[in-house]
């Protein structure tokens, strides 16, 4: 059964940036958009496994640092014409605290 876990505060994720959450299931990339929405994806690009957490965040997308694929933050889907999907992790922000459902 998945539970909500607090991992950090909103303030501790840079605006248009990300943090890495180390878990037993693998690294999770935690993103904060320009409008302070928070999204989480497993930290692996569907292309060649690049660390999405290290990419540039723009709009609701992140650009993988290895070969420039654009991945949608909301659903983990690669932007066309590329095809692939990074696994999504549910996240929420309550009172400035960031939670992941794991």
């Amino acid at each position: 059964m998945d539970n909500w876990h607090q991992v950090t505060t909103l303030e501790d994720i840079p605006l248009l940036g990300s943090r890495v959450v180390v878990t037993e299931q693998g690294d999770i990339a935690l993103f904060r958009t320009g409008e302070s929405e928070v999204f989480a994806l497993y930290d692996q690009c569907p292309h060649k496994g690049g660390p999405l957490s290290q990419g540039i965040v723009h709009g609701k997308k992140v650009t993988c640092p290895l070969h420039g694929w654009n991945i949608g933050l909301e659903d983990g889907q690669a932007v066309a014409p590329d095809v692939g999907c990074a696994r999504k992790v549910d996240s929420k922000v309550v009172g400035g605290h960031v939670f992941l459902k794991l």
């Binding site: 180390v22 540039i56 965040v57 723009h58 070969h67 654009n70």
Partner: protein, 807 residues
Amino acid sequence: MKKMKLVMVGNGMAGVRTLEEMLKLTPDMYDITVFGAEPYPNYNRIMLSPVLAGEQEIQDIILNDLDWYAQHNITLHLGKKVVRIDRRNKLVYAEDGTMAEYDRLLLTTGSNPFILPVPGKELEGVIGYRDIHDTNAMIDAAEKYKHAVVIGGGLLGLEAANGLALRGMDVTVVHIMPWLMERQLDKDSAGMLQASLETKGLKFLLEKQTQELVGGADGRVTAIRFKDGSEIPADLVVMAVGIRPNTALAESAGIYCNRGIVVNDTMQTYDPSIYAVGECVSHRGTAYGLVAPLFDMGKVCANHLARMGIARYQGSVTSTKLKVTGIDLFSAGDFTGNEKTEEIVLHDAAGGVYKKLVLQNDKLVGAVMYGDTKDGSWYFQMIRDGKNVAEIRDHLLFGQSHLGNTGHQGQSSAAAMPDEMEVCGCNGVCKGSIVKAIKAQGLFTLEEVRKHTKASASCGSCTGLVEQILASTVGGAYTPQLNATKPMCGCTELTHEEVRKAISQEKLLSIPQVMQFLSWTTPNGCASCRPALNYYVLCAHPRVARDDPQSRFINERAHGNIQKDGTFSVIPRMWGGTTTAAQLRRIADVADKYNISAIKVTGGQRIDLLGIKKEDLPKVWGDLDMPSGHAYAKALRTVKTCVGSEWCRFGVQDSTQLGIALEEALWKMYAPHKVKIAVSGCPRNCAESGIKDVGVIGVESGWEIYVAGNGGIKTEVAQFMVKVKTSAEVLEYAGAFLQLYREEARYLDRTVHYVERVGLDYVKQRVVEDAANRKELYGRLQFALQDEKDPWAKENINQREFETLTV
């Protein structure tokens, strides 16, 4: 608010492209209705020739299927010809009585083939060559009949003739002029073309005028008779003598036409509610029949339909490429010449190569090429850009230097490559897959090909090849992006230069300010424009503007070079390639402590430690106790040196000392791309100064400075800029050149690209001849560098960047 109604009459490439461009700008402004006279959705008309030649099927050339229209809520009336426009009540009527109301009407009625007014023109078996219907008629005829005559030796006629011959017909091309394709070719190249088409089995009758078409008892054409009385058999006659803008509908509605529907620079007709684009249009007295200009028109028209009101169409320069497999032919611009123009010609009749370049006032205005067209796109780009070619005139005819272009087996001519040969060595894309994608996806631009196939999307060294493949696949539809007006990225229409100018003149100090002032179309840019803007803002306002780490590529945020497994590499700085026993000991200790298994000596005379985890980077830097080598940054990398006069028996200058001085003065200098410098102590040039951004070579009487060399993707030998006497002068000249590059180059252009664009003469003028300007440039560089810090020093590290979280 009620939506406006947009009706489009004509369902061809220009019109649908206009809709696509408009939907990108404003997806919901209009309720859209489209009338098409043909029973097919929008298809790629320029691919009819490959269909006729049997290289493709009709279903392969559909560009927008019915789903596309449905997805965009477009009401589509296929097979319905609009016959009347009621301008007063803003209504259009189709033949079958279907009626539609409009607020804006877009006429894209295209053109009709011109049918010679000769007796017998209405006989069965006499057709034009324009659409799927004509193509099918030709394919049918090829199965049943033997003799085909194509009237018209232009582009379309030759493609039709070639296709019919491939389908087994005995084909004669009849042409009224003394040589083929007289609008695209001069006499010499046309002769070579004719000879090679003759070897494919085509026959030609030149300077022949048609008197009449003779019919049989069954009403089908049987022969063609000429004015001189001669006659040849014909079971199929294809008229390819030109097209006429289809203005019948517009004229019947009283819209002003003059060899086309007359439009202004916004594609508006004399009725302000009615726009027109495509082959039906006459713009500044010209009607265009090639796809590229029509797409330009579509883009402008979309902008006005979307009520943005800023775009203008100012006419197009066109190019031609014959799509006959095995024949390489290209022409662009004005190549006939006049008393004001000069010509450069290469004519190798036996080798089957002909090239003619036409110049006016040191600018290229036209080009014709036969047999070897690999530089066609390059010439066309220069014609469009109006580039001054005085400096490269002596080798212009020999094309772009492909020296050192690697990754495609030394090939520089796409035509000679078999389908399975790899074009893009970075992404493993072969020629066949590129051609397939262009045809199947309906791609027209280099950007689109890059997006869909990844070919030339990484290092870009095969760009020229991909352009050739694109040009030969889509023919005249291919137009390289105008260099001078190329937008920065998809987030803006503005060029790098326009953005830089605004940043400096309007004192824009941050990326959000730039985006707001220049009306960026995305909320916070993309991975392509953000790093560029960050650099531009910092370069224009040093020590005032604040750096935005989130707009830097990870390498410049983590100050290491990210590797394929997500680890980083660390290269400490070794001034001028010199080190000490103590440094080497520390490096060895770090390697042991962090289990670094891969240690590599780099080409820039330094040591690379690989496989370091991101969270270990600050500790590794601390233990090394050496400055950052910036081997990950768009910045000064290394100054390579030879040992020089202190030890070498040939050395005439102390290159090591000068290298160290240059590196100490310029390290921490960020730039549009990486910068590499070398200093050699004598002309034997052991430090390889000839392929560096700034290469210095010691001679007995001083130092020679070379600039804009490159050793990577595009191997380019550095060009001599100036000779000076002292080390201090080397610093000032090199620094001034680099500051000029920093201030004027586009982000991600190396010095080689920058100097190619502005010309070495300009650089010399600003850096060598104008001493005051040189001192100012160097002064600005020194000012900018004063505040730069070593990113590896403990006090400058942003710890949060390197810390991970846990649950």
